[in-house]
Symmetry: C2
Subunit: 190 residues, 2 copies
DNA sequence: ATAGGAGTGCTAGTAATGCTAGAATCGCCT
DNA sequence: AGGCGATTCTAGCATTACTAGCACTCCTAT
């Protein structure tokens, strides 16, 4: 019994090690650098071990993404609770979201761009995801007026996401980024 | 001389054939189905022929994307010129953009998501791209007020792009799509 | 007409990918 | 100590984008 639990503990630890290694690798060099071979080498196990923990590469990306959601939720929360008035809160949370996307592009892609086998728009979605969305929603709430809060939050989210991904993909110049952000947030603050 | 021109003509025709085949394939089965082998088989040439026309797969995607921009520009133009008042024009152009993204998802991805070796946010960008953006800009112009027209257009574009990509990636439910679109366009119509 | 030659396209192969079957090894219990 | 089960590794598969170098074709010049 005790041996069993020890093994489970070691196994869980190794799983965390794999996720951590994947995250380090991807944040340093992007997703195309995260191959099963390189990842296996990093954790000092052979490739098949990865498949005893995860169904495939997509599942590893999903696990990394979930960690990302937790980080994002924390950063959004910090921005929201630090703000004094509602308008400032939306602006700060929006800016925090943008900063996250800019500073952790590969992580952001796993969370919001890549097709990854995670439930998203449903109650089964990871708690961290709901937490992150919740932060955005609470920031929007005071300014929603008679609009549906959930839909309005999703719309703002879409705006932020679009601006960041277009910029990262080279479709928008970095120049003007702050002003676009201000325009978007301004439209959601009256 | 005449032989030379005939060869050039044949060559250009074959290039168009490759692009058309790539587009058919991708619209039917998505980008992961567009492999150099399958594409070569479709055009009834060997793989190396593809590389005598294009630097690599990315360049083929770029060529397909350029065709997509032309299509998008045409559809946006039709929506804009059919509308009677400015508010309706923005709403219709926005809806046309969303419809394009929804009906040609793979094409849309090549244009706006995949990293592809094309100049985007610069004068060297393909004319079709400028045309498409121009349609959006002309729709926004009457409602820009004292905001910078270019930046405001980019911001609306970001909003549309974000909503569509989040929905396509499973991050947003299809349910509520129309209302989110209305919320976004509403915020840009006053 | 025919030999030569330029250029065009194909065959065959490389390195790398995600993933897996089956062998080998390790560690626990009797 | 011996043997059994679970665990991990070696080796390989099929597929990817891309390329080197041969072979053929078709035009040109004698």
């Amino acid at each position: 019994m005790s041996i069993q639990t020890r093994r489970e503990r070691e196994r869980a630890e190794r799983e965390r090690l794999i996720i951590a290694a994947a995250r380090e690798l991807v944040e340093a060099e992007g997703w195309e650098a995260v191959t099963t071979r390189r990842l296996a080498e990093r954790v000092e196990y052979s490739q098949p071990v990865l498949y005893s923990h995860f169904k495939g590469k997509d599942a590893i990306m999903a696990a990394v993404a979930v960690e990302g959601f937790a980080d994002l939720a924390a950063e959004l929360r910090a921005a929201r609770t630090a703000a004094t008035d509602p308008r400032q809160a939306v602006a700060d949370v929006g800016a925090a979201y943008a900063a996250f996307a800019e500073q952790r592009p590969a992580l952001y892609d796993a969370m919001f761009t890549h097709t990854v086998d995670l439930p998203f728009a449903s109650p089964e979605a990871p708690a961290a995801l709901h937490a992150a969305f919740g932060e955005l929603r609470e920031a929007v709430r005071p300014l929603a007026g008679e609009d549906d809060l959930g839909l309005l939050t999703e719309t703002l989210w879409g705006g932020l996401h679009g601006l960041m991904t277009l910029m990262r993909g080279g479709r928008l110049r970095h120049e003007g980024h702050e002003r676009r952000l201000a325009l978007l947030l301004g439209r959601f603050s009256r």
